[in-house]
């Protein structure tokens, strides 16, 4: 008890003690209920969004490192809208579940970090506030890279449900020294990439052009995205699930299945594992098709290879193309039940467009902005030593423009990912193929949507 008394909540805690048990009993008798109050998201066109009177306090849950520092800037300039940051574990590491529970109970924070592929799920839970009627939002669209805005306004289907924060446009990280030594240029097409894979593996059988991770199904969907696959469609009445038998999906599957069958990619290394880092460090894996934020992953985990990497645009399906995939990226959402949606939206807009804020987020949190102007902040103009002084973010800026804006996620992506992941496990261990994986993903996705009573198109 002595430690309790020292905290600032002292009064409340001491008083709460005896009362707690009793009130919990009452709550239990009430059945633990799930009342709807406060959780209903605005629907329809541009719901009213009036600023509150007087000073407000907002809470913001995020797992971007260093966000406290960014928010200090805001708090200093906005004494009437004070924001408190909750630094929480990453979304799929538990924070989404925390949000889901809190939304049911009506105790969610005003603002939460939500990745793009989870936005439909939170909308399905009625967890997001439509902020399209809030001041400044209508004009905000042009400030963001187009595909990011289509993620938060659900392809213009009415309403705005979050503000884009960061993105992960994809490009090719490769060991320039090794490619040079083997007389290879950076592959511009997937065909060239496969040829390079063979050259590299033939030259040294312990060396692979890349690895195929089973733990990152969202990396693999990034490749689908680039190939122009529309995994989900939405005609307003029903969700179409088009994973199995989708020509673009089959194209990507065939390609990678071929590399797996010919033992041209390492199938026993997992993303973000120590083993992978060692393989990078010792030159056993010499390229990675990955997102803009991945530059620090290589830099900090394969220090022995400093100066030897370079970045090139993602290999293309059609020579001369400029299509890029996207892997990851988040938005800042105003969660349902917030008492101050106008102020919350105002803060979210500032957070993701203010140059000073964006620079700090990039520096402390490694964020690659969604804001158009943000792509030109100073840190993204400079050469990066680890990549031989190359101005690598020019490549990502170009990639950002090549991301298909019409791509949409399904409302139960965790189930889609899980099935895809399990299928990839099978494909890598020889129990099935990538086509089997997508077949299973299709079936499980449809099943989980139907369990949620979401209409599914045939």
């Amino acid at each position: 008890m002595t430690i309790l008394r020292r905290t600032s909540h002292r009064h409340r805690l001491v008083l709460a003690g005896p009362a707690v048990a009793l009130s919990l009993v009452l709550a239990a008798c009430g059945g633990g209920g799930d009342d709807d109050k406060g959780t209903s998201a605005g629907a329809g066109s541009a719901p009213a969004c009036k600023p509150s009177d007087g000073p407000v306090q907002l809470t913001f849950s995020t797992w971007v490192p260093g966000m406290e520092e960014v928010v200090k800037l805001w708090n200093a300039d906005n004494p009437d809208i004070q924001v408190k940051v909750n630094s929480v574990p990453a979304g799929n590491a538990g924070t989404y579940q925390n949000f889901t529970n809190a939304l049911k109970a009506g105790t969610a924070p005003d603002l939460g970090q939500v990745e793009y592929d989870s936005l439909p799920n939170f909308r399905l839970q009625e967890g997001l506030t439509d902020i399209s009627g809030c001041p400044g939002i209508a004009e905000a669209e042009q400030k963001f890279v187009p595909w990011t805005w289509s993620q938060v306004d659900f392809n213009g289907s009415g309403g705005v449900y979050a503000i884009p924060q960061d993105t992960g446009p994809m490009a090719l990280y490769y060991r320039k020294d090794i490619f040079d030594k083997l007389g290879l240029a950076a592959p511009t097409t997937w065909e060239e990439y496969a040829a390079a894979a063979k050259t590299i593996h033939d030259a040294d059988p312990s060396q692979y052009i890349t690895f195929f991770s089973q733990t990152d199904p969202n990396w693999y969907t990034g490749l689908y995205w680039q190939a122009g696959a529309q995994l989900f469609t939405n005609d307003g009445d029903a969700i179409g699930v088009d994973i199995e038998g989708n020509p673009a999906v089959e194209k990507v599957n065939d390609y990678w299945q071929g590399l797996i069958d010919d033992d041209l990619v390492a199938g026993n290394l997992q993303g973000f594992s120590e083993e992978l880092y060692k393989a990078w460090n010792t030159g056993k894996v010499v390229s990675w098709v990955s997102a803009a934020w991945g530059y620090s992953t290589i830099r900090d985990n394969a220090p022995d290879t400093a100066g030897k990497w370079a970045v090139a645009p993602m290999p293309q399906w059609d020579a001369g193309g400029t299509a890029a995939g996207n892997w990851g990226g988040s938005s800042t959402a105003v969660l349902a039940g917030s008492d101050h949606p106008a102020e919350a939206a105002q803060f979210a807009l500032w957070l993701n467009t203010d140059p000073e804020a964006l620079a700090l987020e990039n520096k402390l949190g490694g964020l690659y902005p969604s804001s158009v102007d943000g792509l030109d902040i100073e840190a993204l103009q400079q050469g990066v030593d680890f990549y031989g002084g190359q101005t690598i973010f020019d490549v990502f800026k170009q990639a950002s423009a090549g991301v298909d804006p019409s791509f949409t996620w399904g409302p139960t992506m965790t189930d889609t990912y899980a099935a895809l992941k399990d299928g990839i496990v099978g494909a890598l261990s020889g129990n099935g193929t990538l086509d089997d994986a997508t077949k299973d993903a299709q079936a499980k996705t449809v099943a989980s949507l139907e369990a949620q009573s979401v209409p599914v198109a045939d």
Binding site: P65, A90, N98, E274, P303
Partner: protein
């Protein structure tokens, strides 16, 4: 009470019949052979149990760059890493340690007391529904925590206690396992005759429990406390569900949240590794502080 437990002359065991084999051997002198065997087994097992801990220790002495080389030899960065650990996020790590201490000491202390009373009652009284209660308590631990998180959260939300110390502390005061353990031990170590004697003496039931039973059960209570302490210390699922403010986090949840940021901020890895090592230290200290109770508990039970 102490007179009650006086047993100057151990009750004569029934006269041994037969079994001359046993008598041939001297019971007191241990043969060097069996001692050597025992020690060999114990040492091998100790190596098995401790070598992974050494791996953790050796990793915590390395810089991020050295970690990539994955050798087992310790390096020189231990102190630097410690400094990084305690300065990361404005020194939030020490706050997490203190939170964990609060949750674990408070939770385990109360849990032990409650479990001792319940286990004692289940072992030493006969009443209708006893077995039923026992089975219900068993039933309580059968549901996976993942399914219980939501209702627990909703309950605490109803009384506005989510995201407070209470939301983590209160559920931890219940240890069904502790009830089990204390029932088994109360049955074994508290003789009915002593309870009867206490009653004849005019002591109240509660007095018999506090004055006599808890002393006899001391080794078991220490074990329950220790286990519950570790369970609370290492539990991150409940706090993960209940808490949003990282100032209330226990140390494991804090480390977990760092760990989940690694793909974006790889340099946090050093802090996660050494943070894991440091987080075990309070548990070891607790263990060391408590382990004398096993002996003294024994003494209280049989020799006093």
């Amino acid at each position: 009470m102490s007179t009650t437990t006086q047993a100057p002359t151990p009750p004569a065991p029934p006269a041994p019949t037969g079994s001359t084999k046993a008598r041939r051997r001297s019971a007191t002198a241990e043969s060097p052979y069996s001692m050597a065997m025992a020690m060999t087994v114990l040492v091998i097992m100790a190596v098995y149990f401790l070598s992974p801990v050494y791996v953790l220790f050796s990793a915590s002495t390395k810089s991020k760059a050295e970690l990539a080389q994955s050798s087992l030899k310790p390096s020189t960065q231990f102190v630097d890493n410690l400094q990084q650990l305690f300065s990361e996020g404005d020194g939030i790590y020490s706050r997490w340690l203190l939170n964990s201490l609060l949750y674990a000491v408070g939770g385990a202390g109360i849990a032990t007391l409650l479990a001792a009373m319940a286990g004692y009652a289940l072992a030493k009284y006969q009443f209708r529904g006893r077995e039923l209660i026992f089975n219900v308590v068993l039933g309580g631990v059968l549901m996976p925590a993942t399914a219980l998180a939501l209702p627990l959260f909703l309950m605490f939300a109803k009384v506005n206690l989510t995201n407070t110390y209470w939301s983590v502390l209160l559920p931890s005061i219940v240890s069904p396992f502790g009830v089990y353990l204390s029932r088994v031990f109360a049955a074994a170590s508290v003789p009915d005759e002593l309870i009867e004697a206490g009653r004849l003496d005019g002591a109240s039931e509660f007095r018999i429990f506090t004055g006599l039973a808890t002393r006899l059960m001391a080794p078991a209570l220490v074990t329950i406390f220790l286990f519950q302490f570790v369970v609370i210390w290492n539990n991150f699922f409940l706090p993960l569900i209940m808490l949003q403010d990282n100032k209330l986090y226990p140390v494991t949840l804090g480390l977990y949240s760092w760990q989940s940021q690694l793909s974006r901020v790889p340099t946090l890895q050093v802090a996660v590794i050494i943070g894991s090592l440091v987080s075990v230290v309070p548990l070891i200290i607790t263990f060391l502080a408590l382990q004398r109770f096993w002996r003294s508990g024994l003494a209280a039970g049989s020799l006093k």
